[in-house]
Symmetry: C2
Subunit: 301 residues, 2 copies
């Protein structure tokens, strides 16, 4: 998995920081998560190939998470995109995007599908050969979802010594990697378990922004590989977190610890802070494996 | 007058060029003209004080001229703006902005007024003490207006020698500058024309983008000080101008010459060109006083 942070600051875009957007590469497929104003320029700056994006997930309809979406959809048309684009986001997203396309007489040249969300329970919203996606209900000022991406298990790994010992023809390798037993020319059956080992463990990525501290989500986040959890505030401004329905770095770390994730990535910092290192320091008091998102930063897991 | 070009390239925002937006300072008042995606960041980069913007004029509802508007309106709220904001633009602009504010539960903290335009004739849409604005109907793929800004005449200029000769008290200066005659203590009336000279000539600025070549607008543009006219294409791509309803640099120059403007500013270049200098070269074959807009460039007239 590769995670490219296009923007991870709260509220307004500024000269040197961008609102939320990130690209997740999972099993060689790209998805875009949130799309604040300026996202299309950040995609260019980070040399992400536009045509590889087939699915866009929007957490909620605050501007810093979706004001760049209509521009990106329009730019795809100007670039003569032909392949399908799927948008997943809160109810209302279809109306607001299509109204803008209508007013500008700029319908897309490619099939554009909206998958509007309104459930308050986790739901599976996408299954491809490569990965699955389920929603993570968040507690924010307006209806919001996080998204949990899980790689589909890869092929089983051939134990080459065993395969060669049994003189199995290369033509059967693909089937064996998919879990089939081998049948030799004399009819002998070799169990798959003798010829293969388990595939690489599947990774998972949970995006949770924006939300107030919400232990209800821990059960769903158990053992995920990487949790991106918003941390708008430091402890000194904890009194602002509840009324605005945001989290502190410590609260994000508490969720990470309870869910026993492998790595916590912090982001969605209030623009009042000059030194984001303090978020890491505070979170590490609770949880040891903490990374800081920052615009243009790339994580490989 | 001072004109700050925030962006002047057609179609999509790119890493180093921005879609249309400009700030006009006229008689010490600021107005914003068009608002492509990223405008709020360009305002910051150019150190334009947000609170000085009271009027925003949107030519048409193509994304490269207005996708940045909702973000700017939202940011004004986050910055706790209190003063009125007036938006002038095509019918539909109110619905699309208010729908987005509704979906994000982010109503403005300040009075926001929409002035929707649907007339196909020039109309006066604003009169302040400092300037007036009238629409310039454009011919584009969708309903579009240019805007003609005219400074209100300044005060008459005191002829200080005459004023002192007549021993006129300083308390009367303001009235005399506004055009009043002076009445001396003995009742003698001194005609204003003997005490003052004409004010500085009033300047005017016409913004015309996007439009195909349209000689119908020449009458309205007669003798304006500065004409900003789009020139999306060079002559070699003139065959693209008519179907897309854009202009070439030569066509922009032909309008400038016919209207006898003082200065033509070209902009809205297609992003296919690497060297915008060619636009000037081509326009100068028709009209001598040509300037090239470019992102971040400031013109003082």
């Amino acid at each position: 998995m590769k995670l490219t942070i296009l923007g991870c600051y709260a509220a307004t875009p500024r000269t040197f920081t961008n609102p939320t957007s990130q690209v997740l590469e999972i099993n060689n497929e790209l998805v875009l998560i949130d799309c604040g104003e300026g996202t299309q320029v950040e995609l260019r700056r980070n040399k992400v190939k536009f045509s590889r994006i087939k699915h866009i997930f929007i957490s909620h309809l605050h501007g810093d998470h979706f004001f760049g979406l209509v521009g990106l959809i329009s730019t795809f048309r100007l670039l003569n995109r032909e392949s399908e684009l799927h948008i997943y986001g809160p109810k209302g997203i279809k109306e607001v995007i299509t109204l803008q396309l209508k007013l500008s007489s700029s319908w897309t040249s490619y099939p554009l599908y909206f998958h509007e969300l309104d459930s308050k329970e986790p739901e599976n919203i996408l299954n491809t050969k490569k990965f699955s996606v389920e929603t993570i209900p968040l507690k924010h000022r307006i209806y919001a979802n996080g998204f949990l991406f899980r790689e589909k298990p890869g092929d089983r790994k051939l134990l080459m010594n065993e395969v060669l010992n049994h003189n199995i023809d290369v033509a059967y390798y693909r089937g064996i990697k998919k879990g089939k037993d081998a049948i030799l020319e004399d009819g002998t059956v070799i169990a798959n378990s003798k010829l293969t080992s388990d595939p690489e463990p599947s990774m998972s990525y949970a995006f949770c922004s924006d939300t107030k501290y919400n232990p209800d989500m821990v059960e769903q986040l158990k053992e995920v590989t990487v949790l991106y959890h918003e941390s708008t505030f430091l402890e000194e401004h904890a009194y602002l977190a509840n009324p605005t329905k945001h989290s502190t770095a410590k609260e994000a770390a508490a969720i990470a610890r309870a869910a026993n994730v492998s790595t916590l990535v912090l982001g969605h910092y209030s623009t009042r802070y000059n030194d984001i290192q303090l978020f890491k320091t505070e979170a590490e008091e609770i949880f040891s494996s903490v990374e800081l998102a920052d615009d243009g930063k790339i994580f490989s897991f």
